[in-house]
Symmetry: C2
């Protein structure tokens, strides 16, 4: 479990920025088509934090896989994340006009384009992972991505979210934890374990890290919805609170939610102990997730 000799452990902010640069360049190369559909697909991927893609590249580095060999997988998870946001922002879903401080795809183009760009972003993710360059563990990655993002993963989390809106009582802590683990946790877990899977090694420690990280991420999101500044967050805030939806903050209170996020962050870092100092960047990522202001 040691990183390749030529790849150094770096500060998180530097590693994240490097991941954004590499993934964006890879997107420009792999998604170069000149029509409006390709333009909308690139627009949907661009401007995010690319935390999931970073987790792919960083877990790959920990397992001795060079960034070049993990870029298809890193771009693939950003495509899945982007597709879910484009469809989630549609008027019949969350009806959001702003995303990352920019007009959502259906505002910049129209709803038909948002449906089709989302559809083809999902397809493109699987096309990237089926590239022969991905190597002998591609099928495991594809199977995992489908299970994490489909009817028993992300999409089922979105269904639970919609059902909660018309439920007679707000969700309890167990229900909201299940909803969030499906809606966002599954894809974070896929991302953080992808490097071990690519290398054909055991992803158990990374899975433990990712589960704590995913929950911490969502609690931090709920805190941001209450405390955040819309200009920094880049989307509407206080939507959940105003809608009377159950969140970790409404269920635990602000202080307890912050304490819970902190303890999950510690749990995530502890899971990385077998990797020693090599895992410092991923530990910093966990600290960033609970401290971010956007």
């Amino acid at each position: 479990m040691s990183a390749a000799a030529d790849s150094q452990t770096r500060p998180f902010s530097e590693a994240l920025k490097d991941a954004q640069t590499r993934i964006t360049a890879h997107m420009a190369m792999r998604l170069a088509g000149g029509d409006e559909l390709h333009a909308a697909m690139r627009y949907a991927i661009t401007g995010g934090k690319m935390l999931r893609g970073f987790l792919v590249l960083e877990s790959a580095r920990l397992h001795g896989i060079a960034a070049e060999a993990a870029l298809d997988a890193a771009l693939a998870i950003e495509c899945i994340h982007a597709y879910s946001l484009v469809h989630d922002d549609l008027p019949c879903m969350d009806n959001d006009d702003l995303r990352r401080g920019q007009p959502t795809v259906h505002k910049k183009w129209d709803e038909a384009m948002a449906v089709l760009a989302g559809d083809s972003l999902q397809t493109f993710a699987f096309e990237l992972l089926a590239d022969p360059k991905v190597g002998p563990n591609a099928l495991t990655l594809i199977r995992g991505l489908a299970q994490s993002s489909g009817k028993d993963g992300m999409v089922s989390g979105q269904m639970l979210d919609i059902a909660a809106e018309s439920a007679s009582a707000p969700l309890n802590l167990e229900q909201i934890t299940k909803l969030q683990s499906r809606k966002t946790g599954c894809l974070i877990e896929w991302s953080a374990t992808a490097g071990a899977v690519l290398a054909g090694e055991n992803p158990a420690q990374l899975r433990q890290y990712a589960r704590a990280l995913g929950l911490a991420f969502q609690i931090a999101d709920d805190i941001l919805d209450v405390e955040g500044d819309a200009a920094k967050v880049g989307k509407a805030v206080r939507k959940d609170a105003d809608a009377g939806k159950a969140t970790f903050v409404s269920l635990l209170g602000l202080a307890e939610a912050k304490a819970r996020a902190l303890s999950l962050c510690e749990e995530a870092c502890a899971a990385l102990s077998p990797y020693g100092e090599d895992a410092e960047t991923l530990k910093e990522a966990a600290r960033f997730v609970i401290a971010r202001d956007s």
Copy 2:
């Protein structure tokens, strides 16, 4: 290129019915979840002709692959087809209330369910193909399906279709042929070649068959839009004609369109000559495609 000893060449109507029964049973087993999302996914797959799934099973039989080993691929293509219909029927796309004589998913449930059921049908198709049971050529099938259905395949065909509606002049024959080969031809080609790919054999003859079949299929669709009976077709007819859209019928005239479909049918059958009598069922399928009334 001979069929397995235990699988007989059968009349098309019998083979199609058998494919429908097997694929429906496989769906019930693989998509058994009790929630509304699973119910909407099953609803979207059910009741179609399952011509694409039949093509998978029949091309598999021609290459000595048992139906059991090809059912994941057959169900996968029906999932992709169903997802494209569910999204295509949305109000922001074609805005259709009826499909196969039944309410479309967004009429029976709502638009959010139609978006999410379509999304997870696409994901499920790739999950099925990534099942270890599919065998050593799964990755080739996955890559082909992504290329056929995404930004350079089916979805780009849908974009061309939408763009044609607001274009200043109707499409010409070359443009409509390109549009249709992407919108429906690509997936028919994937289906009819899947058996050879599964067996690791050369799909060249099946590809030639499928290209002629796909075009004949679309010409027949345009003829049905003019001559068909909505009750039999199971969806609105004369929509294209009333909208002034270019179709093979508007460009060629009804008689020439019918002659073209017939000649493509002969071309499709001729491509199968290396398979001898084993290919009789696929030849009958081509004749059915241009003679169907729904």
